[in-house]
Symmetry: D2
Subunit: 332 residues, 4 copies
Amino acid sequence: MIRFSVLGCGRIGSMHARNLTRHPKARLVSVFDVVTAASDAMAQELGVKAAASVAEVLADQDVDAVLIATSTDTHVELITAAARAGKAILCEKPIALDMAKVDQCWGEIRDLGATIMIGFNRRFDPSFRAVHDRMTAGEIGKLEQVIITSRDPGPPPIGYIKVSGGLFRDMTIHDFDLARYFAGDIVEVHAFGGNLVDPAIAAAGDIDAAMVTMRAASGALIHINNSRRASYGYDQRLEVFGEKGMLIAGNKTATTVQAYSAERTGAADVVLPFFIERYADAYANEIANFVDSVATGKAPLTSFRDGAEALRLADAALESLKTGKSVKISHS
Amino acid sequence: MIRFSVLGCGRIGSMHARNLTRHPKARLVSVFDVVTAASDAMAQELGVKAAASVAEVLADQDVDAVLIATSTDTHVELITAAARAGKAILCEKPIALDMAKVDQCWGEIRDLGATIMIGFNRRFDPSFRAVHDRMTAGEIGKLEQVIITSRDPGPPPIGYIKVSGGLFRDMTIHDFDLARYFAGDIVEVHAFGGNLVDPAIAAAGDIDAAMVTMRAASGALIHINNSRRASYGYDQRLEVFGEKGMLIAGNKTATTVQAYSAERTGAADVVLPFFIERYADAYANEIANFVDSVATGKAPLTSFRDGAEALRLADAALESLKTGKSVKISHS
Amino acid sequence: MIRFSVLGCGRIGSMHARNLTRHPKARLVSVFDVVTAASDAMAQELGVKAAASVAEVLADQDVDAVLIATSTDTHVELITAAARAGKAILCEKPIALDMAKVDQCWGEIRDLGATIMIGFNRRFDPSFRAVHDRMTAGEIGKLEQVIITSRDPGPPPIGYIKVSGGLFRDMTIHDFDLARYFAGDIVEVHAFGGNLVDPAIAAAGDIDAAMVTMRAASGALIHINNSRRASYGYDQRLEVFGEKGMLIAGNKTATTVQAYSAERTGAADVVLPFFIERYADAYANEIANFVDSVATGKAPLTSFRDGAEALRLADAALESLKTGKSVKISHS
Amino acid sequence: MIRFSVLGCGRIGSMHARNLTRHPKARLVSVFDVVTAASDAMAQELGVKAAASVAEVLADQDVDAVLIATSTDTHVELITAAARAGKAILCEKPIALDMAKVDQCWGEIRDLGATIMIGFNRRFDPSFRAVHDRMTAGEIGKLEQVIITSRDPGPPPIGYIKVSGGLFRDMTIHDFDLARYFAGDIVEVHAFGGNLVDPAIAAAGDIDAAMVTMRAASGALIHINNSRRASYGYDQRLEVFGEKGMLIAGNKTATTVQAYSAERTGAADVVLPFFIERYADAYANEIANFVDSVATGKAPLTSFRDGAEALRLADAALESLKTGKSVKISHS
């Protein structure tokens, strides 16, 4: 039984806390949030302790692992402190918005031996996972092209945009990780960005649409398209194309109902609204993978390095956006 | 080169005449219609002769084959006369509305050796044909169930209903033939009918919706559903279920476009409006099969017997409708 | 908080017990099974009491409701006893295999005021429910036809077949209920049955394939097809056709992956294997509906009468199978 | 009636010639090919004259229009000569492989008033056309993203690769035109290329896979992916994404059959093999548009300028491939 404390009781922290209570080999011990009301509510709902401070959590010998779901600017500090306290760590993406901080963090924790996982939920989606496993098993032969469609249903508040690190570090970072999951190391990145959704996003210095193209060390080509708005729901698709075939993972809908009328046929529901619904299974699988890693010592599916590499690609995309050149990535 | 005359220049006769002009081994020589204006127009459009009478056509030594697309009440007489004149015959379904007339017709022509085909277009549909060929090749193992969905886009004029012989002989007759094509001899028939579309059809003594269930000699069970109205177009589907699998042939749409919006996703066009469009390929294949039969002496895919058997099933369905009992069909 | 005891710790009772522990307004108090090892295991897994007898459960003042998941032959006795003990009752289908017993049971409990629900899971499936709600909201206009496809992945053990009451009472009973959910009272039933799957089923006096056709009081026509085997998984589909359109609810697969290769395109996974997986959401919704009914006094979605009527249709189908006639059902 | 001569009796010229014989307002007068046997065979098949030379064709007062389907290196010369001879011109893409030649050709013919159309077949595909018309009618609101998937079933002979002008000018040129059809003027182009299919193509100095990203003057972003090989057939898809929705045009298969088995469900046929089959309707529509243009004086849907602009984008993509920079396109 792995005993957890959840740091951060916002939308995603709460979801993780609930998932932890459902996992047979995990036990939620406590929750913490800087907003006391939030942690109190969560603690009451789940029948666990509301910790008074991070320090209390890290000092708690009944806590084996922390799940960090606080705001991004606290991640590095919490990861470092938790690693020093000997806790296993599952931290939401991104590690940080600044590559130097990520490297520094790694320097601090590298030798501490902590189990650490960065929460890239998509690798745990049953459909994306099945595509990966079938590809690895040889079903499409050598991988040649990856097409990732990733469009949010609507833009976040401008306040969030301002501290998000920008579209590439906040949103595309998931797609960068997914690209690496399928195509391995990336050696070249090009990006086009646009402001097509909301002028306020441009005013805040960010883009709201993008097309990124990348080349992998293997020679595979990868395309990512992003938008901060999709009228029909949270659009999350993947196409993997190879010598012998292609695998496509599509969107999910709430029902299997198709409608026929004088105007149209085979019309399905809109796709699931956003990440909480779309990746419900993925989040549960992510917890399961982490629990299994802590219990067995196996490496988690998404490592600290994966978090660092995804951020590196985000930075490269941003540089490409500014320079109009494709950016090379070296791998020593 | 097989030289043709088309008898009947209505909607379906005209279509057949045009198809004949496109077949490399067929040559349209003449057309005839009791409405002179119709045959004149057709003759002019296609650059062929407008025959003055059926007698003229049958006496024409340059005519090898007649395509009979006149009204149903003339079929038996024309088939008989054409067979006596030594012509090959492709006759639209049904042979007649009265089984006794069909049997009598067969008695007249049986020994004349004419090549004769009854125009059951569906056997020639590329999708239904592919299902048949794959089933025959063993893909689904032993056939267990057949589901035929067959719904017209809208009811015909009441004037047509009155002379149609009723829904089973006019509309379901295609499905009876399709059932036999897949499941072979039918030994038992049950039918429910209803008046759900238009009270005027009830007033004319006919039904406008039906569900027919049948048992084949092989043990396979067959379901047919019919409606004289489908808001989304001409609904023509087939499901063939067996020990090892299932094959489904769906509807056809004008384009492959799918639409996504805030209300629905993956919405396709309405299905092709009616038989001329839906079975365009089937009609061309039907002509090709007949031309090939005349040229080579091979039996056409849909024989006089097929026409007779489909009518027998229609009569059995009608009897079941009246008696509330399933009706047994004997095969000597 | 509604406090439950689960009677019967087999496959389906265990699933219900686990679902009860996840419902925020339900609390599982105890479980019982005649096989002590089964109830002990369940009790330990879920941290509840293993009751020593039904009598102990019914005498327990901490139990508000019983979920009856024992073998069919015990249902009537347990329903009656539980109603007398003042418990709310959620009983798995069927109530009994003998209509007289069902009527007698109703006579015993009618005036006792117990909340009673019969577990017809399909009404609670999100897709079937959505079809129902959209139909009721007028999307397809007046209902004209219902097509229910219901095929098990493989036959149960012969031992189960022998006590099952036969295909219509054991398997089709779900489809009879679904038909009533959509089309209301049924007035006429016809059935064809067959032995296409396993000769041992025939030897046990049962059929393993069927096609049932029914007419509703509204005039709507209903088709049900059943098979005890489907190579591609548990085939559960519904088509509802009306004046203005059609709604189809399809099968569910574990992922959204589609495969493209030199042999085929758009190939999806096999469908979910059987009822536990296919109706996982439905079972949770069923519990929720029952808990809500007990808490609020609202009638459950599936009543004792629904259980009785479904059995009446099963008996009518069996009579039709034997007589070759369609069987009329009167509604006083 | 527009009277045609077809220059070039290879695969695509023959197809055009046959299509011309089927168009009610076109009449094929003659065909020409430098390989006499080819023009003789075509002439005999279609019952037209085999011209002895281009000069004979251009001097023929019975020829209103020429369809140029010869090798690319002859296009400019033939266009110029035909325009001077007062003929209307339908020329296969590309106009030339060298932008200077295209500009020079335009200088020669600009003032001659000839109707000239460049054969970009995809604009005439019923599905792509429907997407365009629905987008223009406002269905998806402002266009934001275009995704074009365009993969050949297999690579052409190396001999063809060597004279093709390279993947961008030979294959992607269709996608460049399609991008302009949907998104209008393009202002920036980036390309990644790869050699993933056949080392012999690399040896011939060409790439066999590519991902191109473009920005339109409107702000819309466009992605094109190409491969010289797709195991499942000729992959031709289009996705158009906008503020209010998305329209997707998919591949075409020979039948609507879907297969279900113990391994997979809903498996369709492989997609139509190559352009002759996939774009059969498009080629017929292209002829119809050209005939209509010649008859009425309306501008053809695909102009000389369209041919020039597509080549300009191909050149820009090639420059981007070489420099690693995105290339700006100016529109005066």
